[in-house]
Amino acid sequence: MLELDNIAAGYGKLQILHELSIHVRPGELVSVVGANGAGKTTTLRVISGLIGTMGGQVRYDGEVITGLRAHQLVKRGIVQVSEDRDLFGPMTVEENLVLGAWTRRKAAINEELERIFELFPILLERRRQAAQTMSGGQQQMLAIGRALMAKPKVLMLDEPSTGLSPKMTWDVLNAASAIRDSGVSVLLVEQNAAQALAISDRAYVLESGSVVLEGPGRELAGDERVKKAYLGL
């Protein structure tokens, strides 16, 4: 449903992505792993229209969406959780969540809120608290919850484990699996390769802006080259 076809992109004259092609099918959890600077975050930025492309196409359900702005993507069901979460710090947890449903009908909001509170009970407990006063893990849950309020068809998670404890990282990744099980496609970008591969249906390994390996998550986790290069085994 989401396809990146021969993407070339970068910043100024510096090209980061070279003929990168990846795709995500409906209901799939796909991760993109690789070292720092391999182009993982740049890939997400291309999809979400934050940077332009030098070549190639992004397609969604057959429609070319290259270069659409963030709010136009949300309307189509492609929602991103950025690495620095981009919460509305001074506003309450509940306000953040309600704003997540900006593109949707008002009537659906309460029902959706209840679903999010079921997935992340801590958010119900903290609903009146300002987002910026919560811990890193709680903020990550709020960021994911806010993204889910838009009822995405594809959810993109950019390095959700950044700054989280190992226990918290598992909580967040398990939440990502649960979201996939509810029928949402998930595109996960992670530096934490071992854990990401363990929960992925499929995965891509990026190196210098191109895909060097591709396959089912567990298979890649067992691959000697991956183990050596990314898992430190």
Partner: protein, 323 residues
């Protein structure tokens, strides 16, 4: 991290209390200097009434800064446009000046929104200096355009009948009382719009995190345009309210530009409610100071207060950091 909910006892007064004590001190000095309760009471009323208009004007300026990070030096010129819109309505139709209120609000809203869409959106994220120069240039452009179309002769849009209203022994013209009440009503409406409506929530979201706002599907450029329009509409409405007792000239807004900046800094950049309260304080300081330090421009005391705030509390008297 445990956060104590109990307030710590402190002998240092809050900056807001300190400011109010300063106003009280000014009142006492004004009373002693003039030796007349009626003169001082009159200054109190006049100051409060002028302050209501400053509040509305400054809320617009603070809103623009809080959401767009633009220091708008053309704000006073938008007020001048409000004055001339009122003049035009009165002179074309012979109607009561207050008929011009919706006209001024709509004209200034559309003008501000278009300016943001067509000009300022291109400069978003560029350096503060370049935006400062653009709004300064805009201010010159507006003043000179008004000069071109209306000439430099002072104009007026008076009420046919503007009786004095007695309030606690002091007197104010009806037009000034209407300006005060009208400005506060609009200020309150703006507050309700920002705090209680989903559109206002989206504006606050853009102020808090513009990238996050884009990620939830808010059209950030549209919010920018509407916000700038709301800010300039505040200036336009303020211009309409003061038109009946103000000499209308192309540069009439300049003085208000400076006052609005004082109010915004005092209230904390981007703090809308801070601007509302600070507007009243600046009005009081201006008038009471005029009596206490007689023979000087009433603005002297305002600028002394401004300097004190810049030196001691640059983040404003309410302690809210700019967003």
């Amino acid at each position: 991290m445990a956060v104590s909910t109990r307030r710590q006892l402190s002998l240092r007064p809050s900056p807001f209390v300190a400011t109010m004590l300063l106003v009280l001190a000014l009142f006492v000095v004004a009373l002693l200097r003039s030796g007349s309760m009626s003169i001082t009471g009159q200054a109190l009323l006049t100051g409060l009434i002028a302050g209501g208009v400053y509040s509305l004007l400054a809320m617009g300026l603070s809103l623009i800064f809080g959401v767009l990070d633009i220091v708008n030096f053309a704000h006073g010129s938008f007020l001048a446009i409000g004055l001339f819109v009122t003049y035009e309505v009165v002179h074309q139709t012979g109607a009561n000046p207050y008929v011009a209120l919706p006209v001024a609000i709509v004209v200034l809203f559309v003008l501000g929104a278009l300016l943001q869409l067509l000009v300022l959106n291109r400069t978003m994220g560029s350096s503060l200096e370049s935006q400062l120069l653009i709004t300064l240039g805009l201010s010159l452009l507006i003043s000179n355009a008004l000069l071109l179309f209306f000439g430099g002769d002072p104009l007026s849009a008076n009420l046919h009948n503007d009786p004095g209203v007695h309030i606690f022994g002091a007197v104010a013209n009806l037009s000034r009382v209407i300006a005060f009440v009208g400005a506060l009503v609009l200020a309150l409406l703006l507050y309700v719009l920002l705090e209680k409506t989903s559109f206002g929530r989206a504006i606050r979201a853009v102020a808090a995190n513009r990238q996050g706002a884009g990620l939830v599907g808010i059209d950030v450029r549209m919010i920018y345009a509407v916000t700038f329009g709301l800010g300039t509409a505040c200036a336009g409405a303020a211009g309409m309210f003061i038109a009946p007792f103000t000499t209308i000239t192309p540069t009439a807004g300049d003085q208000f530009n400076i006052l609005a900046f004082v109010v915004v800094v005092m209230g904390g950049l981007g703090n809308i409610m801070g601007a509302l309260v600070s507007g009243l304080i600046v009005g009081l300081v201006e008038q009471l100071g005029g009596v206490a330090i007689a023979g000087q421009s009433p603005l002297l005391s305002v600028f002394i207060l401004f300097l004190l705030i810049l030196l001691i509390r640059p983040q404003g008297i309410f302690g809210a950091k700019s967003s």
